[in-house]
């Protein structure tokens, strides 16, 4: 085996240290069509462990978040006031409680009544304003989150196809779901706690000093102890939690992958291997989890311990001071409550630190996406009456710099002509469409519609004149009617029905329970591939464009359905400039001209008979189709 390692076949020679190597998402083979991945799942495990993520540029992110808060000024000021009032009331209540006990101790009954009234008022203020605080915080967080989601979606809507093709959908989705959710939770829960925590600590110290500075200093000892322990513990915990969250992510990823790919596992009898692998990860996770949870769970008892020690210290020294008549019994009572009140916010702030860090990291990711450039919107020429002439002039293009996809591509299409593009996978057919739609910019050369460079035409204007029907049909979770009227919402019902008839979809629509009003749940998952395709054609019919693009619209349906679709396509192509991309040659025999592409170049051009008589690439392709797998 060692010998064979020295002499490995081609493709194996790279060392195993390259395990990080991945196919580039933008590799030409994956092509632009590779952008249609099933939408992702949120990052596994994220948000499940309390692992803290660090944001790279906290200041800048906070500043931008502040921008969102500014818009909510009307909520922010009353919220702040409420927090202050709640905290003040919470601070004074123990003071009054202590006074009341003093009064009882000294049998000052009249003072007791007054004191109780004040206590009642303090409680009332606390209750009323803590209600206000919660309500305002809820409103604030929803207000901000709504705007953030809106802004983010608007950005996603305006991202270039290039960005969407080269970034994982799952990642984009998780910014909308996980990250914004994190920000929202932090705003509604943590912000108030943070402000009131700081206020409580400061206020408590002040009041304690006012009553008896000696006892305060003694109490401070436990405060320092709390801070030190919290700091140390959270440092250790962060490491373990992060590890756990990583393990959890691995386990979730593994199980998702294996369950989704379960059929192949069964087909290859790999159940036992896969289960063993899963068990190993699961055991590992359990070990880390036990450590993490024990550490996390110890936090409570340890804090409890410290707070009780401070209780004893206050009682013992308080008793001693009271004995020497330095303070009253009531003051001891106050100190006990204050000392308890003290450790709570410090503990909370320590925990909040993690939450807030995670939220800022989330916000940073959201902003990073928002900072992506918008799709190029240049061009100002309006095209009222497009004739439909399309011309590619010396176009060069590459998705990634070193791999050119189109070489000096030239093609002129007269208005109303039907052009078919054929060629092997990766020969650049779909790229032609991407360039014409302005989904990608050309590297050099020009694309002209009616003699105008498409980059000088208003982008929306250009696209309104072109309709595309894609291989992977895109339908929306809406009624059939709205899906057909997608391009032309103002269309009359008669026009819609006409479009459905033209596209041979009227028959199956009529057989649906609610006809055109049938709601397509989860983007038409209940329809067959062929039916979906027919709907997409109906949509294109109703759009009534001058230029039509059919990109491999029939590859995944059976032949009978295909015939149906083809008939619809023929009707649709009448009087329009059409570009057809197909694997199956039968689809394109009737085209005015057939362009045979190979590795980004036009190798042959002409109609079916001309190309056959050439006995070149087209002839070869055509014969493979006939003679099947005879080689």
């Amino acid at each position: 085996m060692r010998d064979s390692m020295k002499n490995l076949p081609l493709g194996f020679e790279k060392g195993t240290d390259s395990t990080e190597a991945r196919f580039k998402a933008s590799s030409p083979q994956a092509g632009p069509g590779g952008g249609f991945r099933p939408g992702g799942r949120g990052g596994p495990g994220r948000g499940m462990g309390q692992a803290v993520e660090k944001a790279a540029n906290v200041k800048k992110t906070l500043f931008r978040l502040l921008h969102y808060f500014k818009a909510a000024k009307k909520l922010l000021i009353p919220l702040f006031l409420s927090v202050v009032l709640v905290t003040l009331a919470a601070l004074f209540a123990p003071n009054l409680q202590g006074d009341a006990i003093d009064h009882i101790d000294n049998h000052r009954w009249d003072d007791l009544i007054g004191c109780l009234i004040f206590l009642g008022i303090a409680y009332l203020v606390n209750i009323v304003f803590s209600l206000c605080q919660s309500l305002l915080a809820a409103n604030l967080s929803q207000f901000i989150v709504k705007r953030m989601r809106h802004d983010l979606f608007k950005k996603i809507d305006n991202l270039s196809i290039k960005y969407l093709d080269t970034h994982s959908n799952g990642d984009i989705m998780s910014r909308m779901t996980n990250d914004i959710e994190n920000v929202s939770n932090t705003i509604s829960h943590s912000l108030g706690s943070l402000v009131s925590g700081v206020l409580t600590v400061v206020g408590t110290v002040a009041i304690m000093f006012y009553h008896c500075w000696q006892l305060t200093l003694i109490t401070m000892f436990t405060v320092i102890l709390t801070i030190v322990v919290t700091k140390y513990m959270s440092g250790v915990m962060r490491k373990v939690y992060r590890k756990r969250s990583k393990m959890l992510g691995m386990l979730n990823g593994h199980s998702e992958e294996m369950i989704t790919g379960y059929r192949s596992i069964v087909a290859y009898c790999k159940e036992d291997d896969v289960i063993r692998e899963f068990n190993e990860t699961s055991d590992e996770l359990t070990k880390v989890s036990i450590t993490a949870e024990i550490l996390g769970g110890s936090m409570g008892p340890i804090m409890n311990c410290i707070s009780n020690i401070s209780f004893v210290i206050v009682a013992a020294f308080g008793g001693f001071f009271a004995f020497h008549n330095l303070i009253s019994i009531g003051t001891i009572s106050k100190f006990i409550i204050y000392a308890k009140q003290f450790s709570r916010p410090i503990n909370e702030i320590a925990q909040l630190y993690g939450t807030i860090q995670t939220a800022i990291a989330g916000a940073e990711r959201v902003f990073a996406l928002m900072d992506e450039p918008d799709e190029d919107n240049s061009g100002s020429v309006c095209m009222d009456r497009v004739k439909g002439e399309v011309e590619f002039k010396n176009v060069n293009f590459s998705y990634v710099p070193e791999k050119r996809v189109l070489h000096d591509f030239n093609l002129k299409v007269k208005p109303g002509q039907k052009i078919a593009l054929v060629g092997a996978t990766g020969s650049g057919k779909t790229t032609v469409v991407n360039l014409l739609m302005r989904f990608y910019p050309v590297d050099s050369g020009e694309i002209l519609v009616d003699g105008v460079n498409i980059w000088d035409i208003k982008r929306d204007e250009l696209r309104k004149n072109i309709a595309i029907v894609l291989q992977d049909t895109v339908l929306f979770s809406d009624t059939i009617e709205n899906n057909i009227k997608y391009a032309n919402p103002g269309a009359a019902d008669e026009e819609m029905i006409y479009a459905a008839e033209m596209s041979n979809s009227a028959y199956f629509i009529d057989h649906l329970p609610d006809g055109y009003k049938t709601y397509l749940a989860s983007a038409g998952a209940g329809l067959s591939q062929g039916q979906r395709q027919l709907l997409a054609i109906a949509r294109a019919v109703l759009a009534d464009p001058k230029i039509l693009i059919l990109d491999e619209a029939t590859s995944s349906v059976d032949t009978r359905t295909e015939k149906n679709i083809q008939d619809a396509m023929v009707k649709l192509m009448k009087n329009r400039t059409s570009l057809i991309i197909a694997h199956r040659l039968s689809t394109i025999r009737d085209a005015d001209r057939i362009v045979v592409m190979d590795h980004g170049r036009v190798v042959e051009i002409g109609n079916h008979e001309e190309l056959l008589s050439l006995k070149g690439r087209y002839f070869e392709l055509y014969n493979t189709q006939f003679s099947g797998n005879k080689t």
Partner: protein
């Protein structure tokens, strides 16, 4: 579910006992404090203060120790329990039949394995620690309060119903809304997902504005529902505080009256009473939360049990398949999917494929092609009739030996996030790099693999999203080629290849595996035209069977398919 916990009952009991210890220590504190105040401070007995103080600190430390140890044992129980459950569940999922996975859907199985198990584990943890802690806290608090003064206990008893009413009221109001929030959240994600996936269409029809409006509507709905939940919950805390604060004032008043009347009541006792009250009410609120966790966990337990209790549908046979020749025979086979038993997908299908023969299967979508071949490796079992290999019913073989002799390439290529090499090696663990490479060459995958920077070591991203459809199919074809079994089934697994590549693959396959029985499902006639025989399937029945030429003469359906694909040019060439 308890069965899995039984193994760790010792840890559970130990944790619970330790928790009782910790809480008892906590409960002693206010009482000791009252002693310090009333006996020590008021009677000027510094010695007593120090003595009781030291006792207090000892109790505190002991309590802390109990607490930490309780955490250790509770975690040992809960985490290991969760681990066992997870492993058991995963293993069960891997052994489910295709029917069962179809019914659950993969997404739901993943959720059960991850979220639901975590949820149940959380519940065990909460029961062992939280429930014990708060029950003891609650009961102990009442007892201690009673010892301070029966009157105080009465105050707590009066407050109790109010707390219960508030808690149930708010939970009942908010709980149904949680489901609504989830639905609205799905709505937002849905629009988002559709738009990211369908960006080309959105842009091509210039509908950015329209989509933004659609998103805003979903967003608005989510935010307003969220706000409703948060508003309801915002009232809960203040309401609980009303009860607690009223109790505190009542205790002070009652304590004052007692002292005024000259009873035994002391100020320290009032202070202790206030602390106990807070503990009791806190305990009640906490239990309400636990209740919520329980309801959620109950749903998870049910969902997990649903999977665990699935009966084994496909049972193992006994025979080995070491030396099969590869003859496949269907004898009057009928099949219907369990969710619609009246709708026969296969109806009395009979045919034979001889060893080494190539059979093409063609037919419209839904004619039963995939179902047919799924019966051979027993992904499903035939309802009526028999599927035989070399004259032996497939049910007689062990599943491993049967599936070891049948290589299936599925319609949807399934790849895993590991290297290309490891993905192909899946077909044969012991294969050396040369064997892998030559398998890839046959499957026409070698060229594009070698084109990449890291060749066979290139990592496939999850689900193979980094590869084009054709590349994925070719890798999964390599896998099947490497498996080198007697029977090879291709379920429309060359659909994303262009015709030339497909023809090259079939050519290489025939040259290298002349003795393998090949069953090929295809949409394109070109893919199967040269098969030894072609089976035309229509509505679950064999419409006709024969060579291409025979079918061209005898089968209208076949001719129709042929013409729709090749038009009249086919005859011109023939």
């Amino acid at each position: 579910m308890l069965k899995y916990l039984k193994k760790y009952w010792f840890f559970c009991v130990l944790a619970a006992l330790l928790m009782v210890g910790e809480v008892s220590m906590d409960l002693l504190q206010p009482d000791l404090m009252a002693e310090i105040v009333d006996e020590g401070v008021l009677k000027s007995d510094v010695g007593l203060i120090v003595r009781v103080g030291i006792r207090m600190i000892l109790f505190v430390l002991l309590g802390g120790l109990f607490g930490v140890l309780c955490g250790v044992f509770a975690n040992l129980a809960a985490q290991q329990f969760g681990n066992d459950l997870r492993k058991e569940l995963f293993s069960k999922v891997m052994h489910l039949s295709f029917q069962q996975t179809d019914r659950f859907s993969t997404g739901s199985l993943v959720t059960r394995l991850t979220n639901d198990v975590t949820q149940v584990q959380h519940m065990v943890m909460m029961s062992v620690r939280g429930l014990v802690r708060n029950t003891v806290m609650f009961l102990g608090g009442i007892v201690m309060l009673y010892f301070q003064s029966p009157r105080f206990a009465l105050v707590a008893a009066c407050a109790f119903p109010f707390v219960i009413i508030f808690v149930t009221f708010f939970l009942r109001k908010a709980s149904p809304l949680f489901a609504v929030v989830q639905k609205k959240l799905d709505g937002v994600n849905h629009v988002m997902q559709e738009d990211v996936a369908g960006a080309r269409v959105v842009k091509a029809y210039v509908k950015e504005e329209h989509e933004l409006n659609r998103f805003d509507r979903a967003n608005e709905e989510l935010c307003s529902t969220n706000l409703r939940v948060q508003t309801i919950l915002a009232f809960m805390g203040p309401c609980m505080n009303i009860v607690l604060n009223t109790c505190v004032i009542l205790v002070i008043v009652l304590g004052g009256i007692s002292i005024k009347e000259g009873s035994e009541m002391k100020p320290g006792q009032i202070m202790a009473a206030i602390t106990y009250l807070a503990q009791i009410l806190h305990g009640v609120t906490f239990m309400a939360n636990i209740f919520q966790i329980f309801t959620r966990a109950k749903a998870s337990v049910d969902r997990i049990n649903e999977v665990l209790r699935c009966p084994v549908v496909i049972s193992d046979g006994k025979g080995e398949t070491e030396a099969i020749k590869g003859k496949v025979e269907f004898k009057n086979v009928s099949f219907a999917y369990p969710n619609s038993p009246s709708n026969l997908v296969l109806n009395d299908v009979s045919f034979t494929v001889n060893a080494g023969e190539t059979l093409g299967i063609i037919g419209a979508t839904g004619s039963g092609k995939s179902t047919l071949i799924n019966l051979i490796p027993r992904f499903y079992d035939a309802e009526k009739g028999q599927v035989l290999i070399d004259g032996i019913d497939v049910k007689e073989f062990t599943l491993n030996s049967l599936r070891g002799q049948v290589a299936v390439v599925l319609q949807k290529a399934e790849l895993y996030s590991r290297s290309v090499e490891a993905n192909i090696r899946w077909g044969d663990d012991k294969a050396d790099p040369w064997a892998i490479k030559s398998a890839a060459e046959i499957a026409q995958a070698d060229d594009f693999i070698c084109d990449t920077e890291f060749g066979y070591h290139t990592m496939v991203t999850e689900g193979g999203h980094s590869l084009s459809g054709g590349q994925k199919q070719r890798i999964s074809l390599s896998r099947a080629v490497l498996k080198n079994s007697k029977i090879m089934i291709l379920d429309d697994s060359t659909s994303a290849l262009d015709l030339k590549t497909e023809a090259a693959f079939f050519g290489a396959l025939n040259r290298n595996f002349p003795d393998t029985t090949k069953i090929i499902i295809a949409q394109r006639i070109a893919s199967i035209k040269n098969a030894d025989r072609i089976l035309v399937l229509e509505h679950g029945s064999v419409a006709s069977m024969g060579t291409h030429e025979e079918l061209m003469k005898a089968s209208d359906l076949y001719r129709e398919i042929y013409h729709s694909q090749l038009k009249e040019g086919g005859e011109g060439n023939a």
